[in-house]
Symmetry: C2
Subunit: 317 residues, 2 copies
């Protein structure tokens, strides 16, 4: 297993600087009053392609040698990594094929195509996704850039918490959503090196709590096709992200669908930013565990802003 180091994060930051935004960090006095903590929202919803995944994807794409770059890249993704890899490949001008569940939000599919990505659809389950993807790689010979179980991707995601430490100094804690664990692994890699006192928490939908159960059991437990409004967090941990999560994460919290939607609406209403349900899971977790965060300086990773505005989760209510 090729485990990335903090030197890889530094190299990634230099490599991708021209292709990503250094995203702003926003605060809300209302939400601080509500939680009793001092929260710093790192707004990756304003990132290129609308999510932090542009960091890891850009690091992978711009790190390829010329020969491999000409053949192109391929991936499978519930959405944001597909979009981000298409963005990065488009920037470099190389071919990109993405396997996406047919149920993925239409705006994400349109955006992938807008960046020049070629989409092959699969069923909305991990097993179907992996089977269809194997066919694609066999046909194209493209370089596989996994959405999270890839040292280049994790090093790229590690640049996000690097920027937080540069802008805010050492925080008491950082809370990030966990699906496959790419962002959390990037936080582990960076923070354990340059801000070792910062506690790293992950937040997960109760409906897709495989990371929580893995963490408690001490081994990877994977679910096939869990259902949650936080559609970026359905995928399971893999060996590389498990390495970081099991080693550096302080605890994992879960939140119900109702708690996620309420936290999402609170952020939209008070902070005036558009973000995905997945990005609301950390605030939902903080609101449930106020005593743990009270009086603390806490970084919150707003992972992305790609949401179907025609199907907001409170529209049914």
């Amino acid at each position: 297993m090729d485990i990335p180091t903090y030197a890889d994060v530094e190299a990634a930051h230099a490599r991708i600087a021209l292709h990503i935004h250094r995203t702003p960090i926003l605060t809300s006095s209302f939400i601080n009053d509500l939680t009793g903590a001092e929260l710093f929202f790192k707004c990756e919803n304003f990132q290129k392609a609308g999510a932090f995944k542009a960091r890891g994807a850009s690091n992978a794409v711009f790190g390829l040698d010329e020969k491999m770059a000409k053949v192109g890249v391929a991936t499978h993704s519930s959405g944001n990594h597909a979009l981000s890899l298409s963005y990065a490949a488009g920037k470099r001008g190389i071919p990109v094929t993405v396997v996406m569940p047919r149920t993925a939000p239409e705006p994400k599919k349109a955006a992938v195509r807008g960046y020049g990505g070629h989409i092959v659809e699969c069923e909305p389950s991990t097993s179907s996704r992996e089977a269809v993807f194997a066919e694609v790689v066999a046909e194209t010979g493209a370089e596989f850039v996994h959405p999270y179980n890839d040292p280049r991707v994790i090093a790229g995601q590690g640049t996000c918490s690097k920027e937080m430490v540069e802008d805010l100094g050492e925080l008491d804690a950082v809370v990030a959503p966990i699906g496959g664990g790419g962002m959390v692994s990037g936080c582990c890699l960076t923070l354990s090196t340059i801000a070792p006192k910062t506690k790293i928490y992950a937040a997960e939908p109760k409906n897709a709590d495989d990371a929580y159960r893995s963490f408690k059991a001490g081994r990877i437990i994977a679910d096939d096709a869990p259902q949650t409004v936080a559609d970026g967090l359905k995928v399971p941990l893999k060996e590389l992200t498990w390495h970081f999560v099991s080693k550096h994460v302080e605890d994992i919290f879960t939140a119900t669908e109702e708690e996620i939607v309420a936290a999402m609406r609170l952020i939209w209403e008070r902070m005036k930013i558009v973000m995905e349900p997945s990005s609301a899971v950390p605030l939902a977790a903080i609101l449930k565990n106020k005593e743990l965060f009270a009086g603390k300086r806490v970084g919150v990773i707003v992972t992305g802003g790609n949401v179907d505005l025609g199907k907001l989760p409170w529209a049914q209510s």
Copy 2:
């Protein structure tokens, strides 16, 4: 008529600095490509109380002498000024009464109460609003802070374009929504003094185009209770804002309801910010008049972000 000067804008900026945000300026490469212009979005949706009106209201409230402050302030407003005056009065700890149409969005009413404001309801027409308000002032003796036809308020709004010039230098043009004309008057006051080459354009809903018709006729034309999704722009010009608009505005554009909603959705989807329908009218106008703005550096004032998330204008479609 007491006409504010640029010295009043400078005094306002010093007076309110502790009570307002210096709001960020965002850009979108996608929307730049779409319009052919270089657009700079001044994000007053991130302002205290969710709108630029916190500037003028704070200038009025913090400029009161101790005696008048104790009696308190009062106003009538379709929403954001009510909220902003309540915010500013709450900050200073003085009484505030606001007359609001009974049809005003529920989140705005709740926020006014949250800041400690006392609400008296009226019918949703200019005539009813003014009649009810006269009673309130007679009863309370409070200092009237008009939402826009007030030199203290206009000087406060002028701090917004002052920040744009400080951050971006002299722009080719600025486009702002026009209702009563407070923001546009503030732009006129500031830009005509410190950036005289910047052309000032106003953008208005076609369904509430009294400013457009006034501008073309050379005199104030007021409508009673026009209907538009841009609910912050229903009010008519008054003598003080007419002074600035008639003297310094280059032209006024109108946009249909469909154009406003499409521009709003485009900004939400691509820029990941929550803003009101009123704030989308400038982009709708730019998209209709691309040739005028192509190749130009254009400031766009995103006036506010207070929108009922349960009733988004595209939810019906």
